[in-house]
Symmetry: C2
Subunit: 409 residues, 2 copies
């Protein structure tokens, strides 16, 4: 019988929509390799609503992970309400207090009365140290509640605590010997229903296989869950039907795959972006080790910078406009001319909301791909959406163009 | 008595952590101006778990917004389960079918059997058109359920439908004449407990004021909620105590504030980034109209590109290393020399996980700020965290340096 895991996120900023809840995704990703899945997640306001939410969750799950409400301010009540519900007196913990004082001293700050609340610990609870903030986490084990982890809200504090403190403790609770595995195929350049048409019927016929699809900007994810033997069988079907459309089957994102392909081939890359405004360079440089393949990225927003940095001629800009296949090609050629790189990508388009014309409406984008010694290629696309999704879809398409080119050898 | 609003997010990709749930934040933001707040949010797996979750929500709220499970694949069961629970027969809708067929024809695709499921509509339900995908939304009004909105999962389909279809319908349900208002002060360069020390006691003493704090990467948000009169009173206290630390009080993010300040002053900006890899340019270009202030952004990842594009001397790089105050200064000077811009920002540091030394450990970063005709300034910071949070904190600090400089005149 697998452990029933539940997450309770507290924080009015989440229910007001001022902050996006990233905790569910982070925690779920960390639990999966243990064979644990989150079965239920709830989000409530700070303060009193935490009480009934905790009570309801206590009766429903074996492991409860609560995020938020451990800070120094008056709306942080998770610690107090938990102690009250479980009838555990709060004690002052001198070790926690010392860590807080040392942290403040290093930053040249003095400890105020509010901060001291964070050194209160419910009797019997284990303190989970927080090297990235003042509020420690708490691990509470009682007879009348699930295994209870109280974690701080800021992701930069929660994430290290999750990996260093929570996961090892959950590991000791597990008895199940053969957890299921999950495999996610990430695909680009193909639609969700096309994917199901190609593999759905064959996969649904497999006993004990759980199947799911998810459409994202410029991407479809196909997810299968089952025992290792079942997954191996399903994998052959998927690989045969979808082949090169799969850019990763190990969770890697497209930018990691592309950076690794370039590194394996000892190749370098230069980028020139207009409408994506640095998002392509940002994605590439999010990959650790990107510095060995990326020479430079140029965000040539003004026409003048396209001429200055990429030698795009003023005549060409005047004749065809900055958003044109001719300029995308000239940007790629400029990169290959001014850098020593093997590959070059250029992007020019109309992200919107303004700037569209009848001939080139908002969402029009030209992507250029250059490879030293070969003719540059340019593709035109139309992504009618908001500014940020436009950037996501355009950069995804550009990276996939490069990946397909790299696969050819 | 305000309407009780609840959100039910369906999708195994959410509980598996493969996709971050952005729906709660988007929907909450859209509802708030109507005086509506989300009181409760739950997330469950695709398929059967939707049934008990719907039943529980039916008894708890006045308005229920369900996301996901309307697609063409076999795990999409929201429409069918809703119809079954409410005893509403499903009918084939020829208008929906025609819209689907037209959409497919435009893209040169043929309609498959799976897709046709999306033209099934529960009797009595209103169809909410989906110009960005095949699955329409549904608005179901019955005596035995809350007002029920079924919306598609992909954000690029859900968001336009939310604003164009859901919000106007919710508006007609409202009777309350004086909704509360919410004001969020966004602050940089100050910690959460410092903010509470400066304003907490005075604000807590105000009758009818709801108060909240939220710490984010390089930012603290102070939130107050109350009637317009109460907010006006509280606003004077906040403005007096926190003054210039507040970069916005209308929800604007720091990049928008900086772009608008530059535009008001008719000033232009150039960027040179090493360790932030284009994220600074990405943030600036996310602001509509950024093209009138941003000339260019250079992602000078290699030493050679720092020399080629920014005229940073090889001697300087060899003597002090790329991560140094001297190089940050030279990068800014190079930008001002090669571009016509009024302001220049440079960033060079060690994002990690590799590349740290004893003298310059992972997290070390130098930020340079240049203003034409003035001496460049360089600040050193230490942000020990993951690669993406490092980028967020560094760019936030750089933008705040520029904002403070712009405030001086």
């Amino acid at each position: 019988m697998p452990l029933r895991v539940e997450i309770l996120n507290t924080g009015s900023e989440l229910l007001l929509g001022q902050v996006t809840n990233t905790h569910l995704a982070s925690i779920a990703q960390a639990l999966f390799p243990l064979g644990l899945r989150v079965q239920f997640q709830t989000c409530v306001d700070d303060g009193e609503p935490i009480r009934p939410a905790l009570q309801a969750a206590f009766s429903r799950c074996d492991v409860l992970i609560v995020t938020g409400g451990l800070g120094p301010t008056s709306d942080d009540v998770t610690r107090d309400v938990t102690a009250e519900l479980l009838d555990l007196p709060l004690r002052h913990d001198p070790v926690v207090m010392q860590a807080i004082e040392e942290r403040f001293a290093r930053r040249g700050l003095t400890v105020t009365g509010r901060i001291q609340r964070q050194a209160q610990v419910p009797a019997g609870a284990e303190v989970l140290p927080n090297p990235n903030g003042t509020a420690p986490g708490l691990y509470v084990k009682t007879d009348q509640s699930p295994f209870l982890f109280l974690l701080p809200g800021p992701p930069r504090e929660l994430l290290p605590m999750l990996h260093n403190e929570v996961i090892p403790r959950l590991h000791t609770l597990l008895t199940d010997a053969t957890p299921h595995e999950c495999k996610v195929y990430r695909l680009a350049g193909i639609g969700e229903s096309q994917v199901e048409d190609l593999v759905g019927a064959q996969l649904e016929a497999i006993n004990g296989l759980e199947l799911g699809y998810c459409a994202r900007a410029g991407e479809v994810d196909l997810r299968i869950i089952g025992t290792p033997a079942v997954l191996e069988f399903a994998d052959r079907i998927v690989q045969k039907a979808l082949g090169d459309r799969i850019f990763s089957a190990d969770g890697s994102n497209l930018e990691s795959v592309v950076v690794n392909l370039l590194r394996d081939r000892n190749c370098t890359l230069a980028l020139a972006e207009s409408c994506t405004g640095g998002f392509l360079a940002h994605r590439v440089t999010n990959v650790p080790g990107a510095s060995s393949v990326l020479d430079c990225g140029l965000v040539t927003y003004s026409n003048e910078s396209k001429t200055r940095l990429l030698q795009v001629s003023e005549t060409l800009l005047a004749e065809h406009g900055a958003v044109s296949g001719q300029v995308a090609r000239a940007m790629v050629e400029g990169l290959l001319h001014t850098t020593p790189c093997d590959f070059a990508i250029s992007v020019t388009g109309v992200a919107g909301p303004g700037g569209g014309t009848e001939e080139k409406p908002v969402g029009t984008v030209y992507i250029g791909l250059g490879r030293r010694g070969k003719e540059a290629r340019v593709a035109r696309h139309q992504f009618v959406t908001d500014r940020e999704t436009f950037k996501a879809m355009t950069t995804q398409t550009a990276l996939e163009m490069l990946r397909q080119d790299l696969l050819k050898g």
